[in-house]
């Protein structure tokens, strides 16, 4: 429109918040890939989902409270996974066959612990969605109970109760005494 000047406002972070930048996202990528793997069961999909999540998040400026970026990203990843699962179900794609899980654990962790990790991830695939989301948030991503509760939009007590049940079921599947 003639005579109207478009004013571009610089987007500044509120004082108690930080802007999510590609660099800060990159440092969380490995943990999010493992979380995505636990949710979708395929490494390739997991990497795609994390990439897609980052693209969505970076599409516009996002400000999160300090130290809450990981919880925020996990919630964004869960939304992406949910959308992906819905579209996969619509397309009627068959679930991926079990794949090589060697990458999931640290080689320096030793062969026994690596095997344990593989068993645990395989067992997590059998959990219900709420239990899996909880164990992913706490044990895979490393959120505190409180952060996990915030991320999953539930109570801390519920997180701990679900975490107990999730670990119990995984332990049984792993053959723990």
């Amino acid at each position: 429109m003639a005579g109207v000047t478009q004013v571009r406002h610089r987007v500044e972070a509120p004082i108690d918040r930080q802007r999510l930048e590609p660099r800060s996202l990159a440092q969380h990528r490995p943990r999010l890939v493992r979380a995505a793997y636990a949710m979708c069961g395929s490494r390739e999909d997991a990497e795609d989902l994390v990439q897609e999540t980052f693209e969505r998040v970076l599409r516009r400026p996002r400000f999160v409270q300090r130290d809450r970026d990981l919880a925020y990203l996990l919630r964004a990843l869960q939304r992406t996974c949910g959308a992906h699962a819905a579209s996969t179900a619509r397309r009627g794609t068959a679930p991926s066959p079990p794949e090589d899980l060697e990458w999931i654990s640290d080689e320096r962790a030793g062969p026994e612990l690596a095997m344990e990790a593989q068993l645990a991830y395989a067992a997590m695939a059998q959990l219900s969605d709420p239990l899996r989301a909880t164990i992913v948030a706490v044990d895979v991503v490393g959120l505190s109970y409180k952060e996990a509760a915030r991320s999953l939009r539930t109570r801390v007590g519920t997180v701990m109760s679900r975490l107990y049940r999730a670990r119990e079921q995984v332990a049984t599947a792993m053959g723990a005494p």
């Binding site: 440092q27 990528r29 490995p30 943990r31 890939v33 493992r34 300090r66 130290d67 060697e102 990458w103 999931i104 654990s105 640290d106 080689e107 320096r108 962790a109 030793g110 062969p111 612990l113 690596a114 344990e116 990790a117 068993l119 645990a120 991830y121 164990i135 044990d139 895979v140 490393g142 109970y145 007590g157 519920t158 701990m160 109760s161 975490l163 107990y164 049940r165 670990r167 119990e168 995984v170 332990a171 792993m174 723990a176 005494p177």
Partner: protein, 251 residues
Amino acid sequence: MTRHLDPRALSKRDRALLVRVADGTVPERSRARAQRRLHAIADAERLIARQRRVAGALAAGDERVAAAPAPARVLGRRLLLRVGPAVAALAAVIVLVFVGPSGEPSIVARAADLAKLPATQAAPAADGRVLRAAVGGVPFPDWGAKLHWKATGMRRDELDGRATTTVFYEHTSHRLAYTIVSGPPLPRPDGARIVRRGDREVALYRDPSHGGHDIAVFERGGRTCVVAGHVMSISTLMDLAGWRGPSVRRS
């Protein structure tokens, strides 16, 4: 008489308690009550062990391995296949963490080794939230009041021309050494797991030659700090490493 509950009939509160005990996150003020409650849960120890086994297995993932480009992962697997998993794992730890580029153990590794040595001086006195000992203006924490790790002794050494001061702390039967290395920050040990505590990055690794000592390396006030020793849970080490004292004193 103690009443034993069926583990299948655990209340939500008991499940939360077992999770907290397994993770080592029972608040100090609630420990006595938690202990009493645990006595009432049949098979509590076994249930806690199961919780820990799963949490430990899922923590075996490592950021660097997951993030490494494909050739690095393939190389790692080939190494595993060729020399055997146990040898490869041990070799990786030794090469990446303990040995520097020159083949000598790194200063950080030797600073962690100081945890094996005895104290040569009395513990410094407490002065508010810190002790009356500092390196380059970075004081040692007083963990006695809040975290119940009591300073029991101190020693001073020199590693590659860098002065180090180590304060030893004890809690129940566990002992920790907190070493601050003078001079500019040292490179972070390769191969260590990087964990964030607030805005502080802590490099964590385990030294098998210490009988399983856990080691945390981080920076405070521009100095490298190394906390090494035996802890019940890695979260304890993280809590200690994440301790924030008053701002650094510059004399």
